[in-house]
Symmetry: C2
Subunit: 468 residues, 2 copies
Amino acid sequence: MAKVLTPQNDDFPRWYQELVAKAELADNGPVKGQQVIRPTGFALWERMVSEMDDRIKETGAENASFPLLIPQSYLSREAEHVEGFAPECWTVTHAGGKELEEPVVVRPTSETVIGEYMAKWVQSYRDLPLLLNQWCNVMRYEMRTRLFLRSSEFLWQEGHTAHATRDDAAGYNRRILHEVYQDFMENVVALPVLTGLKTAAERFAGAINTFACEAMMRDGKALQMGTCHELGQNFAKAFDIQYLGNDGQQHHAWTTSWGTSTRMIGGLIMGHGDDNGLRVPPRLAPVQAYVMTVKDGEGVGETAAKTHAALRAAGVRSKLDTRGDVPFGRRAVDAELKGYPVRVEIGPRDVAAGKVTLVRRVAGTKTPVPIDGVTEAIAEALETDQKALYDESLAFRASHTTDVSTLDEAIEAAGAGFARLAWDACGVDGETKAAERGVTVRCLQRADGSVPDDLDEPDLVATLSRSY
Amino acid sequence: MAKVLTPQNDDFPRWYQELVAKAELADNGPVKGQQVIRPTGFALWERMVSEMDDRIKETGAENASFPLLIPQSYLSREAEHVEGFAPECWTVTHAGGKELEEPVVVRPTSETVIGEYMAKWVQSYRDLPLLLNQWCNVMRYEMRTRLFLRSSEFLWQEGHTAHATRDDAAGYNRRILHEVYQDFMENVVALPVLTGLKTAAERFAGAINTFACEAMMRDGKALQMGTCHELGQNFAKAFDIQYLGNDGQQHHAWTTSWGTSTRMIGGLIMGHGDDNGLRVPPRLAPVQAYVMTVKDGEGVGETAAKTHAALRAAGVRSKLDTRGDVPFGRRAVDAELKGYPVRVEIGPRDVAAGKVTLVRRVAGTKTPVPIDGVTEAIAEALETDQKALYDESLAFRASHTTDVSTLDEAIEAAGAGFARLAWDACGVDGETKAAERGVTVRCLQRADGSVPDDLDEPDLVATLSRSY
C-alpha cells in the first residue's frame, strides 16, 4: 500500500497533523486555537463519553449543567486559582448591544461557580457527599495550539464533589483516579497509565494535591490523560460551603475536582497510531467491523448486507460500505487511516468460494474466513486485538523506561522515554533545572508504583520525561 | 397531602416557578438569564438526548462539534440572519489579557460557521447529502428570562444538512419534523403536537420555510417545542457551498437546519404537571420506579433491595430510597414533586402481609400488590400510564381548541386555548393585529391537519393562541 502519511520516525508531529486531517478527525476553527471535531473524530469522543459516564455514575455522581459564563469576581475569591487561570481567560464584555456591568469570563473550569451553588445546596451532613459531574466545553487562551492536544476550546467532563471529611474526599478522589480514569484508559483505550502525585509546581491552581494519569506516546513523550484534585477546604472557605454536623456545629466541607477531555483523543492517536493511520482499540471503536464490497458481482451486495446484519445482531458495531463509485483501493486506505479494528472485504471471488476476507488492523493479517463463521471469527479477533494493543503499549513503555540515579542521567534518558529517579535525588531544584531542558516531573509514586497520599511521604520516585 | 405548590388555577406562572425550585430541577445562574440545571432536571435532559439522538442517527445524520465562538464577520454574510441575531449576541472582546483583533460572538446558532466548513467538505455530488448534528450550548441575550423556557444560555441540538436538490432538502427536513421531533414528543414525552408551517413573520432569520411542532400547555398557551428550517440556497450562496454535479457543472447546495432544546423540559413541566408536582411519562422517566421504605422493620430493607434489583433486572429504571433519617412523608411529597411514574412503598405491615404498596402518579391510585407480582404490575402500569398521559393531553387540547371564522373570534378564543381560523380570514394584517393583543399564529396547516409545502398553498388554516 502506498504511504499516505509521513512516517512517524521521520517527523512525528507532521505524521500526527497529517493523520488528523486525512482520517477526517478534526479541523482548525476560524478563531485562534478553536477546533472543529468532525464526525469520525466525534464518534470516538461519544464512545469515550459513554464508557466514562457509566463509570462516573457507578461511583454515585450525578450529571448537572452549570453556566458557561462566570463573573470575574468569582474567580478572584480563591487567590491561587485566579492567579492560575485569569491570564488564560476569554472575556465577554458586551451583550444585547450594551456593555455589561461586570465583565464575565468563559469558564476555564468551574470550581468557582459550582462552589457558589454547593454553598446553597449543602446545609447538613445529610447532604454530603454531594457528587456532581458535567460534560461541557471550556476555554483557555493558548499561544501555541494543536488539535485535540492543546486547543483554546475543548470538550471535557469536570467532576466536583463536597465531603464531610478530608478522608472521605481523598477516598472518593482516589476511586475516580483508579476505578474511572485508570480503568477506562487501560481497559477501553488500551493505554497503560502511570498514576501518581503531581509536584507542587505541577499542581492545579487552588488544590492541595493533584493526582494524574500519564500515558506514554509512541515518540516516548508523556501525555497527561486526566487529573484529580484534592481541593482541601480552599474553595469551601472561599465560597462558604458549610454544613451542620451531627455534632451540632458548622463545618467547612472538603471538596475535590477531576477532569478528562478531548485531549484523550490525541492520546489515542499518538499512543496507538502507526504509519498507516489510527488504530482504534476494539472496545472503544465506534466502528468495530467495516464490511465493504470489493467490486460488484453476483451475490456480493447481498452477502455484505447479510454479514453486516449478522454482526449487528451479535452486538458488533458494524458499518456497511457498498459504494460502487469510489475505488476499492481508496476505501481500503481510508479504513486503515481511520483504524477500524477489522475490515471484511467481500468480492465476487470470495462469494463464489463461500468465504470473505478478514483484515485485522492490529494483527496486520488478511485471511479468508467461511461466510458462516465470520461473526465468531470477528468476535474473537476483537477480543484478541484489544489485548494485543494493550500488551504492545505496555511493552513499548517498559522498553522506553530507564531507572537512573542522577538528574543528568534522567535528562539524558528522557530523550527517549521515561526516566525514573528518586525524588530525593531530584527535588524542587532539580525539577526547575530539568524544566529548562524541556523535561518535567510527570508524577511521583511510591517505590512499588502505588500512589502516595501526599508530598511528605519519604522515598518517592519521580518519573521524568518530555511531554505534550 | 398538604399543598406544597400554589395551585395551577390560582397562579400558573407561580406554580411553574415553585415546581422548578421544589422539585430541584433548576436554579438561576449568577449571570443574567443563565441557568443551573440540577441533577433531577438534567436527568430528564439526558433521557431526551438519548431518545432524540437515536432517532437523529436513524435518519443518517452524524454528530460533530463546531466552535463556540464565531467571528462577527461570518454572521454578516447572510443579510437576514445577521439582522435577526446580531442584537441577541454575547460578544467576546478580550482573551489572554489582550484585545482581540476582531470581536467574536458566542454562537446564538451555528449556520454560519458550519456553512464555512460545509463549503470546504462538499466538493462533489458524492459528498451529498451531508447530514450533521451537534449537541451543544448556545447563547442569546434575553430581557425577560424564565428557567428552561427562555434563558440566555440553553442546551440544544442543532442539525445542519446540505443537499443536491431542493426536493431532497425538503424531504429530509420533513423526516426530521415527523420521524424525529413529532415521534419523540408524542410517543416519549406524551405531548401531542401540531406540526405546521410558520408565517413569514415567525420564520427563522435566513430561511425560506420554517416548520414547527407546537404543544398546548395546561394553561391553554402554546409552546414551540422544535423547529425545522429550509434555508434554500441562502447560506450556500453566502458561504459558497458548491458541488460538482454529475452533469459536470458547479451547483450551489440546498441546506436545512433544525433544533430542539432544554425548552422541552419546560414543555414537559407545563404540559403534564399538576398541583402536586411534575408527572413524567414512563418512557421518558429517568426514574420509572421509586422503591422506598416507609420505616424500619423486619425484612423491610431486604424486601426493598430485592424489589429494586428485580425491577432493574427487568429493565425498569428503578431508584432505591432506604433513608431512615428523612421522614417518610417528606420523601413521599418529594417523589410526587419529581413525578416518578410509580412509587413502591414498603413498610413492616406490607412485608408481614407479603405485599407492597404501589402508588401510581398518573392514575392516582394506591394499591397493595403481592411481592412476587410487583415487576409485572409495574411494567403494566408504566405502559398504561404512558398512554393515559398522552390521551389526557390530547383530550385537553381538543377541549381547548375552537374553530372560528373571524379574527375577533380567534383573539377571543385564544384566551382559553387554540383558535383555528382560515388563513385567508387572518392574513398578514390580521396577524399583526392579533400580535398587539398577545396572540400569535402558531402555525399553518392544510384543512386536514397535514403540513403545507409553502405559504403559497391555498386554503390554509391558521392556529392562533397565546404562547411562551
